[in-house]
Symmetry: C2
Subunit: 711 residues, 2 copies
């Protein structure tokens, strides 16, 4: 017995010693805590059913949408036949109210702004949720209609599918009704033919043997549908000779792939934050990270709105205003094909469909890295009732292996400096699936004060059926490049993308000026210098809107500053931010071409307007089928004063897209970005005091238990 | 006793159960293996003293450099007075030899190409290491001199420091000799005054109370030094009235920062690969990753050379040629100031100093993420002897939270697809510290076949002393923007950067053509279409060099393709890659300005030349003080045929830089990039079959043991 006792005591001591090895204990505690859950770091998501607004710009809650709907229901002028609701969102308080509000103050009265359609008329309605009544109601006289609802889209397709000649036409092409998938592109405006009624064009595809029906167009089959009468008003069927392209190799689902790629497999790689992310999201919408604070909200039309972006001064600790509001105001996508089924494809995705209404629920771990925070969209449906679109925005910290500053120094005796600071940023991301195209929007905040706005284009091409299987059998060989064959019987139609951002910059307050600094070539006088020429920056302050309508020119370069003339740095420079353009393709359509008239906001790449509460949407409040009478270009014809005023900067990013085989059957993401960069805003660079990374910052990791058995 | 026994047995069982919990055991094993070492993943670095070449393009080894030097020493024409060695590198075998070589073949005869300077003459010498003798020796008749050696630079400063009037001048300005730091900018060429002898200009700074002497220029003090006679040939001292700027707040070392930044601290974040990286580096230089294979080597002049970049066809498994050789050929940096101390600052950093000679040893964890592989440079010193510059290149995999493709689908009944693929890439990076500026170069390879080449500008500004402390006291208020005050007495001088890449693209073999596809606005005839205009791509194949000299124009857009006319895709499209420009600032200096004559390779943003073994360096083989008689622009005057030939694409990225306060006292990295993008190269997009990330791909991490106590 004694021997057993000694043995047991010895064994126990051995286990106690090994067991108390500190890292293992800590590890176990952590495992039971948050580490096992690292992909779901932010578990306590908002309960939208009990949510209340905390900030003047918080979007309407479920309760508020319900209340707005109830008030509308009891509002006599609209209640006999309840209209379809095309937009029901927060009516933002006046800018002065928002600027005057401080955390802890009661928030200003909550109002809903409603765009409703009844008997072909657009009603603009303000519902005061506090007073419980409609406080404004006007019928728009604009040429355009409100955004299509998801209901409009599905009803248009229903109407088309019931059209008798459709069945015959698709049968003649060998497509089964069961595999038919139809979409409803918007129509634009092309003269009086389709005026005075809401119209869409319905176009169909075959989903036989593939998820990727977009690669199988039924070419030349277009049904023009009156949305309100619910009838086909025109049936165009011209492409029966064009085969429906094959399904083989088009399915994009991972589960449908039959063979692995001919490349070395990649080992898992991920961003890891063992102590969790460094940002917080307060009250559901106020994001705080490093030196940045801003308000972030999903919006059914803009997709994502950044408001009140402020940055803490690295010297004084003061929280300083950079931007009052920034968002994608319009997205113009003209295709370059004159055919009956194509000429009208000149989309304005923001005003016609809404980036938020079509926002994707982001795919965790793939659309956004682990340690992301996801924000839901709470939107109103066409019956005015609320719904939740989950995970439409993600917020995450990013380290991409880049350097925010570096220097090596060897010239000082006794001092060898090798300094480098890693670039860690904060990204707010959303993605909208507008039919075939998937657009991603990133707003990326840097510790040096820079904001980078990035747009990514992915998804699938909008393709055209073609009788040809090989370019060498196509006639007009010299024309081939204008109709790029991307697969057998599939042409990738050339098109452009233009996304116009509304950037209400408030550098240290609302009143700013726009300064264009030209880099001008100066020539020296004979004998003046060994040099014959040099560049000299020359600054021009824009007095009125016309001074700030800018087409970029690489051989007449300029820089573009928003400055606050009444706030100066220690050195006397006005504080400022600079717009650094990127994605600089310009729209080249004729200024009198109908789509260009409607999207005349792309006539210039930069515009500056005085702040006007009603001028939010570059293509007009009511964009659908509009004639272009309410665009940025029209507002700006007044040539209003913009010097030392509350001004708004508009920047249009552009992409030309000539497709190629690599865009088939899916399209690798193409991105471009522009920067808003501090320029004499800080007294000095704010990143110097940020520490480098040290060995002890790096976590110790093991493969997840599932994965470790695989390798 | 029995109670004790039971207690002991119970305790033991508890410990056994908890101790044998499988993840903990695994974890411990891993800890003892590689995981603790994660930042030093690649431990088995090359032993350069026993290294032998494995590939025709492997750089010279230590042994080979020693042998070349020994052969030179016994070579009668140079051995009486041994010359200074300005370059001693691999003389690449003929392209046909390299293309004919396969892994396992004996490598072609090894040769060294030497540029040596003796009595003011540049000797171009080929040393055959196998034959043990000099096989070519010619004296250059070019106007230029070889790259400066580190020896030249230090000797120039020595000579200047001994110049008697210097001491007096700096004393008059209150600067102690002990805190003096001098640099030796290159001089350019400005007419006959400084011809026929090697010259540098020496310029000095005060390092008193700061590591960042660059912010403390001693303005107007320039010593022109004859490098070979070792004497000051001109002493210019015009700026005594200009104070040396203050040191306060300029030190950039993290250890010198006194207060933390006014921002929330960031938690650690890192890229983690629990199973290690997915790439391998074979024989020290052949990198294999995903579908890519390429040869990578440090080069004293170009910094980093990518050779034989090949990509595996995702359909057939064939390894296909994309690029024979790519590197930074020249880097032109003209400053825009006519002063005696400034007009000559029109650097050509590659040919004058060498990006590899000035390559930084990269700072692990900060310059490059963990799991990086580091490659050393083995270079020759000015005495011909070898030396090792450690860690000049890093290679790492990157996941930046981006998406290489995404799509959501809701239109197919019964199928809801949400697909997204993360973008994981491979980066090869180097950084060169050219005085104040730090340049980083990234070659990033994507699984979809795209190569992105990125240049980053960081370090510190080259600043000019000024009598002014505040812009509001400066005269000519309207001129202020042309001399930006970035701190008290400190002006950030306006300048440009142009980096010209040599891109010897071999799309599926050497013989390629250059196709320019213009996007041309077409107008419709009345009644032809509801549209008035559309864009039509029109392709032009360049016949000769003049057809491919291109200035970019945003309002006359074009795309630029390298195609292989004799290899066609299944659809009949010629296989190709497209150059997607970025960093598009153009040089605006007068074409007859001396620096522009020497850097005439920036007259166009794109050039295409027939392959010519001797045309590697856009500014000429001997760049220093050259008159521009050996540039890309001169070679290209012959207007040679380039259709269906072995051709080289030259692309120049440009940056205009108007400094601001945020560039003081350090400069946040500014980056631009251009893409080489497959266009009808693959039959279809190759990324489709790459798997998404799954939960089990994500590691389980804990803070490092040091760090966990901190938080």
């Amino acid at each position: 017995m004694e021997k057993l006792t000694i043995l047991l005591i010895s064994l126990l001591l051995i286990f106690i010693v090994s067991r108390s090895w500190p890292p293992l204990i800590t590890f176990k505690l952590k495992l039971k805590g948050s580490f096992e859950q690292h992909n779901f770091w932010f578990k306590s998501k908002i309960d939208h059913f009990s949510e209340i607004p905390h900030h003047p710009l918080d979007p309407l809650t479920i309760e508020e949408i319900k209340r707005a709907r109830a008030i509308l229901f009891s509002y006599r002028p609209l209640s006999s036949t309840f209209p379809s609701i095309h937009s029901l969102t927060l009516e933002e308080p006046y800018k002065s109210q928002v600027l005057g509000w401080k955390n802890g103050d009661p928030i200003p009265p909550r109002k809903a702004f409603v765009i409703a359609l009844l008997n072909g008329k657009s009603h603009l309605v303000t519902v005061d949720l506090g007073l419980g009544r409609v406080t404004r109601h006007e019928i728009s006289s604009s040429s355009g209609y409100p955004m299509l609802t998801l209901d409009d889209i599905s009803k248009a397709v229903e109407v088309a599918l019931l059209y008798p000649e459709l069945a015959e036409s698709i049968a003649a092409r060998g497509v089964a009704l069961s595999e038919l998938v139809c979409i409803s592109p918007s129509v634009g405006w092309y003269g009086p033919n389709e005026e005075g009624r809401r119209i869409v064009k319905v176009q169909c595809f075959s989903s036989g043997n593939t998820s990727n029906f977009y690669m199988r167009p039924i070419e030349g089959l277009i049904l023009t549908v009156d949305l309100d009468k619910r009838e086909v008003v025109k049936f165009s069927d011209t492409g029966r000779a064009i085969p429906v392209p094959r399904a083989v190799n088009t399915d994009y689902r991972y589960s449908a792939q039959e063979k692995p790629p001919e490349m070395r497999q990649l080992n898992p790689i991920s961003l890891v934050q063992p102590n969790g992310p460094s940002f917080s999201v307060e009250g559901g919408h106020v994001v705080k990270w490093a030196n940045w604070e801003f308000h972030l909200r999903p919006d059914p039309r803009a997709g994502m709105v950044i408001s009140r972006a402020t940055v803490r001064d690295s010297e004084t600790g003061e929280l300083r205003s950079v931007m009052y509001k920034g968002f994608a105001s319009e997205f113009f996508v003209p295709y370059m094909d004159l055919d009956e089924g194509w000429y009208f494809k000149t989309y304005m995705d923001v005003g016609e469909f809404g980036l938020g209404a079509l926002a994707s629920s982001l795919v965790p771990l793939n659309d956004c890295p682990n340690y992301s925070y996801y924000m839901d969209g709470v939107f109103a449906a066409s019956d005015g009732g609320p719904y939740i679109q989950p995970n439409v925005i993600c917020i995450f910290e990013r380290y991409a292996g880049d350097v925010s500053w570096r220097h090596s120094e060897t010239l000082i005796p006794g001092l060898e400096a090798r300094e480098a600071r890693r670039k860690v940023t904060l990204v707010a991301r959303m993605a909208a699936t507008v039919g075939n195209y998937d657009y991603t929007f990133d707003w990326e905040f840097q510790t040096d004060g820079l904001i980078q706005v990035k747009v990514g284009l992915s998804g699938m091409l909008m393709v055209k059926g073609s009788p040809y299987e090989n370019v060498q059998t196509m006639p007009n060989q010299e024309e081939i490049s204008s109709t790029p064959l991307v697969s057998e019987n599939v042409i990738g139609v050339v098109h452009d993308h233009f996304v116009t951002f509304h950037l209400d910059m408030d550098i240290d307050g609302p009143n700013n000026s726009f300064a264009k600094v030209d880099l001008v070539k100066e020539e020296t006088l004979p004998g003046e210098s060994p040099r014959k020429s040099y560049l000299k920056p020359k600054r021009h302050i824009a007095k009125t809107e016309n001074d700030a309508k800018i087409k970029l020119d690489l051989y007449k370069p300029s820089e573009f500053y928003l400055i606050n003339p009444s706030r100066r740095s220690r050195l006397g420079n006005p504080t400022g931010y600079k717009l650094v353009p990127g994605g600089t393709a310009a729209s080249l359509l004729d200024a009198l071409d109908p789509p260009q008239i409607r999207s005349a906001f792309t006539n210039n790449q930069i515009w500056v307007t005085p702040y006007n509460r009603s001028e939010q949407w570059a293509g007009g409040l009511l964009t659908y089928q509009s004639k272009g009478d309410d665009t940025l270009a029209v507002w700006s014809e007044r040539n209003r004063p913009i010097e030392n005023k509350d001004i708004v900067l508009w920047y249009t990013m552009g992409f030309h897209h000539i497709p190629c085989q690599e865009d088939f059957p899916i399209m690798p993401t193409v991105t471009s970005s522009f920067d808003l960069k501090p320029a004499n805003f800080f007294e000095r660079n704010p990143i110097l005091r940020i520490p480098p990374a040290f060995e002890h910052d790096f976590p110790v990791c093991r493969p997840s238990s599932e994965n470790k058995n695989k390798y």
